[in-house]
Structures are given as structure tokens and as C-alpha cells.
């Protein structure tokens, strides 16, 4: 994978097995976000192959990518919402765009909002949310379609430790439900906290390569 002229990631070979829990770490600018973007088809590799659910992204049409994204929940550090719609609608957005009837899923939705602790904020606009609330809303949006994979890019980057713990808790719970999780972070405390609860593998990007980090973390 090259970016802006220089090669950014090379010789990376990785398969995320279903139900696994990965941390992706490395210095800023190493290519964590780029790697995640490759994983959900937002970027195409300049060389090599990226497969989403067994299909090569190069052979996938834009619609195929859209359909694959319904099976992948993505949480960004700076989450974007539709700022003119309340939180509940934003969380339900994947349902709306995939043509599902929201009224059928209203129970799911309120359960999910409850799970991320946003029941009371359902009617608020995204701009009125705090950083932690935004991240939890993003997570709720990422999982409402019951995706098989959840990719989180620095999900705790903007929030305090307590809130990070809570968000991690939610991700661990999702992993126990069988979801594949990949979290890009440079927060070692978060990784340590996770390791006590879940079988997590740590991947480290440095020198344009992907390393499996030792167990000493």
C-alpha cells in the first residue's frame, strides 16, 4: 500500500478469523487508519490483495462494497453523524439506508441505546453530545446491523479513562457474542485492560510492516 507517493504498508499478510480480538498499534502516522480503511474498502491497495468476506475488493463494485459495509461496523475517532437528526435516528441510520423498516426494529434500538447508556439522550442532536457520548453513539450505530466485524479507529482517543473503560467493556461484550473486533489504538493501558478480560492479539505497525507484538504488554 502506498500513499502520497511513498510506500506506507508493505509485506502485510493477515487474516482476521471470525470471533478474534485484535489491537492494532504503532506510532502516529504509521498507517493504522490506512490499514483499517483497507479493511472496509475505503481505500484500495496499490499492490497485493484485500479480501472482504472472501471477495477481492478490486473485483467488488461500489454496491458490493456498500453491502459488505453493512456487515462491518466502523467507529472512528472523530465520528461523523447526520447533525440535523437526533441520536436515535443516527444510530438507526444503517437500518434506514439498508431499507429495513425502522418501526420493526424500535425495540432493538431502545435496547441498544440502553446498552450504551444513551436512552436519555435519544432525542438529542449529535452536536449536544459529549465526547464519550458521541463514541458510544458511534458504537451503537456500528453494531445495530449486528455486523460480523467491528473496526474501531482510536475509539478512546477523545475521552477520559473511565469512559474508555466503559467503551472497552462494550467491545469485549460484543466479542463474547462472537463478533470479530479490531481496535486501532496507541493507548497501552487500554490494551492491558483488555488483556485481562479477553484473548486479544496485538498487532504493531512499524517500519511499514505488521508485527505480532510479544506477550509482554
Amino acid at each position: 500500500m502506498s500513499y502520497g507517493g511513498g510506500e506506507l504498508l508493505s509485506d502485510i499478510s493477515l487474516t482476521l478469523s471470525p470471533g478474534s480480538f485484535h489491537f492494532l498499534t504503532g506510532p502516529s502516522g504509521a498507517g493504522k487508519t490506512t490499514f483499517l480503511k483497507l479493511c472496509y474498502g475505503a481505500l484500495l491497495p496499490t499492490a497485493g490483495h484485500v479480501r472482504m468476506f472472501g471477495a477481492d475488493v478490486r473485483d467488488m463494485s461500489r454496491d458490493d462494497v456498500a453491502l459488505a459495509r453493512r456487515r462491518i461496523g466502523v467507529v472512528h475517532q472523530d465520528v461523523q453523524f447526520l447533525d440535523h437528526l437526533p441520536v436515535a435516528d443516527n444510530v438507526a441510520l444503517p437500518l434506514i439506508v439498508s431499507g429495513r423498516d425502522r418501526t420493526d426494529e424500535s425495540e432493538n434500538l431502545s435496547e441498544l441505546l440502553n446498552w450504551v447508556g444513551l436512552s436519555k439522550r435519544a432525542g438529542a442532536l449529535p452536536a449536544e453530545l459529549s465526547g464519550g457520548e458521541r463514541q458510544r453513539a458511534a458504537l451503537a450505530r456500528a453494531v445495530i446491523m449486528s455486523p460480523e466485524v467491528i473496526l474501531a479507529d482510536e475509539p478512546t482517543g477523545n475521552i477520559d479513562w473511565e469512559m474508555s473503560q466503559r467503551l472497552l467493556q462494550l467491545l469485549v461484550e460484543l466479542n463474547r457474542m462472537g463478533k470479530t473486533i479490531m481496535i486501532a489504538t496507541h493507548d497501552m493501558n487500554l490494551i492491558r485492560a483488555a488483556k485481562s478480560q479477553v484473548q486479544a492479539r496485538v498487532l504493531r505497525i512499524s517500519q511499514r510492516r505488521l508485527h505480532t507484538a510479544g506477550a509482554d504488554l
Partner: protein, 301 residues
């Protein structure tokens, strides 16, 4: 391709949820409606012009092409004989359906605008006019002139082509200009709606990025914009068309006096034509927005 009616009705009915995804934009919305209305209004007039000049051209070429005039300028004592001779020649000319010498009353009526009603036609040495009506095939004017010059020395054939042709050509050209104006108005509408759509797409880049991230297909995202612009154009064009039709309707009509100008309007079933404008405007908006949306979306990941 047959239009899929269920898809069109579904498009018009829309998806209430999908409609809310794109934030409402008051100002550009009003501009789009205004542009559509103004363009529809102009189209009504261009259409009226085209149809009116079309009618004029048809009438001129139809009525005048079939009729010509033979003028017999002879001394009074020979006029009768020459008229009879000319009629005989005309009767035996292939392509002439009928020929008839105008009566004194008719000639007086023709001269009345110039000389008043009391003209003593009988006592004046004015030429005798013969009206010649062609049949479908028409006659050979040059051959007829030749025969006439031999048998009726005082006869002058005026087959009207001399002054008919430029008139018909002018009317045809005007009609063409009318249609060209309609085409230009359509193209300008498409251009303006494309600009408006592109502005809307650019202003909603974040919305599009979010929708794309959560798995919305391009067609779904495009539809949210396309539907909005199509309905705006439809509404605006409908309003503009109605106003234009009212304006044409209340044009003062001075039937006999002004000739060409009073023809500007719709006659009979031609009133149906302007009703085509709103759907056509909507179709232009649909195509323009769809094109703009698809192009914008292709550039995104």
C-alpha cells in the same frame, strides 16, 4: 425501454425516511423552484411563437401555393375576348384545377381598401383578374407563360412564388428559432440545476460520507438528492407554465387587424402542448441531478 410505472410512482411517493437524511436547504431550494418556474414561463412563449409561426407558414404555403393570379391588361374592347381566350388556355393546361374570372364586385372589394367603396369599376380600365387554382401536382409556370404570350398578349401570370417564398421562409425560420429557444431553455435549465445539485452535494459531503460508511448504496444516496430536485423542478415548472398560459390567454386579440401578432397563442388542441412542459422540466432536472450525483459519488470512497 418501457417506463416502469411502479418504479416511477415509488419514486414520486418517495421514502419518508430517506427524505430526512439530507438536511433541508431553504435557499437553494427556492432558487431551483424559481429557475424552473422562470424557464417554464419562457418556454410557454417560445412554444406559442413556434406554433403560431408554424400555423402561419402552413397557411401561407398552403393557400398561396395553390392559388395564382392571371392579370389581363388589355384595352377595354379586347378585355372580354382575351379573358375568354385565357380561360380556354387555362382549362387545357395540365395541373390547373380550376380557373375563374373575378366578378366586378370581387374586384371592387379588392380595390376598396385603396380607393374606397364608391369606385366605378365598370368604367375604369382596370385589368381583369383570373384566379387560378392548382391541383396537387401543380402546373408548369414557364410553359403556361409561353402559351399565354402566344394566345393572350395582354396576360401576365403571377404565381405568387415571388413574394410567397420569402414569407414562408421567414415564418419557417421563426418557427425554427422558436424550437431552438426551447432547446436552449432546456439546456440552460439542465445547466443551472446541475450547478444547484453540485452545490447541494458539496454542501452535504459529510452526509454522503456518513451514509456511505454505514453501507448506503450510491443509488440510494443519489435518489435522496435527485428526488428533491426533480420535485422542485416539477413544482416550479408547473407554476411557471400556468402563469405563462394565463399570460398567453390574456394577450389582447385583435384578430383581423394585426395578422401575425394575434396568431401568437394556442389554438384548439395546441393548448395541450404547454402541459408537457412541467414533466419535461422534471425529466431534465432528474437527468441533470442524477448525472451530477453519480459523478460526485464515484469520486468518493
Amino acid at each position: 425501454m418501457t417506463p416502469d410505472l411502479t418504479r416511477i410512482t415509488a419514486f414520486l411517493a418517495g421514502d419518508v425516511q430517506a427524505d430526512r437524511l439530507v438536511p433541508p436547504t431553504g435557499f437553494t431550494a427556492r432558487l431551483t423552484v424559481f429557475v424552473a418556474a422562470a424557464m417554464a414561463f419562457l418556454t410557454v412563449f417560445a412554444l406559442a411563437l413556434s406554433l403560431a409561426t408554424g400555423r402561419l407558414a402552413d397557411r401561407w404555403s398552403d393557400e398561396l401555393a395553390r392559388a395564382s393570379t392571371l392579370r389581363i391588361s388589355a384595352p377595354m374592347d379586347q378585355r372580354e375576348a382575351q379573358t375568354t381566350a385565357a380561360l380556354r388556355v387555362l382549362e387545357t393546361t395540365p395541373g390547373v384545377a380550376s380557373a375563374r374570372a373575378l366578378s366586378d364586385e370581387e374586384q371592387r372589394a379588392l380595390l376598396e381598401p385603396w380607393f374606397g367603396p364608391d369606385l366605378p369599376v365598370e368604367s375604369l380600365p382596370i385589368p381583369q383578374l383570373i384566379e387560378v387554382i392548382e391541383d396537387e401536382t401543380g402546373y408548369d409556370a414557364a410553359g403556361l407563360r409561353l402559351r399565354l404570350s402566344a394566345e393572350v398578349p395582354g396576360a401576365v401570370l403571377d404565381d405568387h412564388t415571388r413574394w410567397r417564398r420569402p414569407l414562408v421562409m421567414a415564418a419557417d425560420r421563426l418557427r425554427l428559432l422558436g424550437w431552438l429557444s426551447i432547446a436552449l431553455i432546456g439546456a440552460a435549465t439542465a445547466a443551472m440545476i446541475t450547478l444547484a445539485a453540485q452545490a447541494a452535494l458539496a454542501a452535504n459531503a459529510q452526509v454522503i460520507a456518513v451514509l456511505r460508511l454505514v453501507g448506503a448504496r450510491d443509488a440510494y444516496i443519489a435518489q435522496a438528492f435527485v428526488r428533491r430536485f426533480t420535485l422542485r423542478a416539477l413544482g416550479g415548472a408547473a407554476a411557471g407554465t400556468v402563469l405563462g398560459m394565463i399570460a398567453v390567454l390574456v394577450l389582447p386579440s385583435a384578430q383581423a387587424e394585426a395578422g401575425f401578432l394575434t396568431g401568437l397563442g394556442f389554438q384548439g388542441w395546441h393548448w395541450i402542448w404547454p402541459l408537457v412542459i412541467p414533466p419535461l422540466g422534471a425529466a431534465v432536472a432528474f437527468a441533470a441531478t442524477r448525472h451530477a450525483a453519480q459523478r460526485t459519488l464515484r469520486e468518493l470512497s
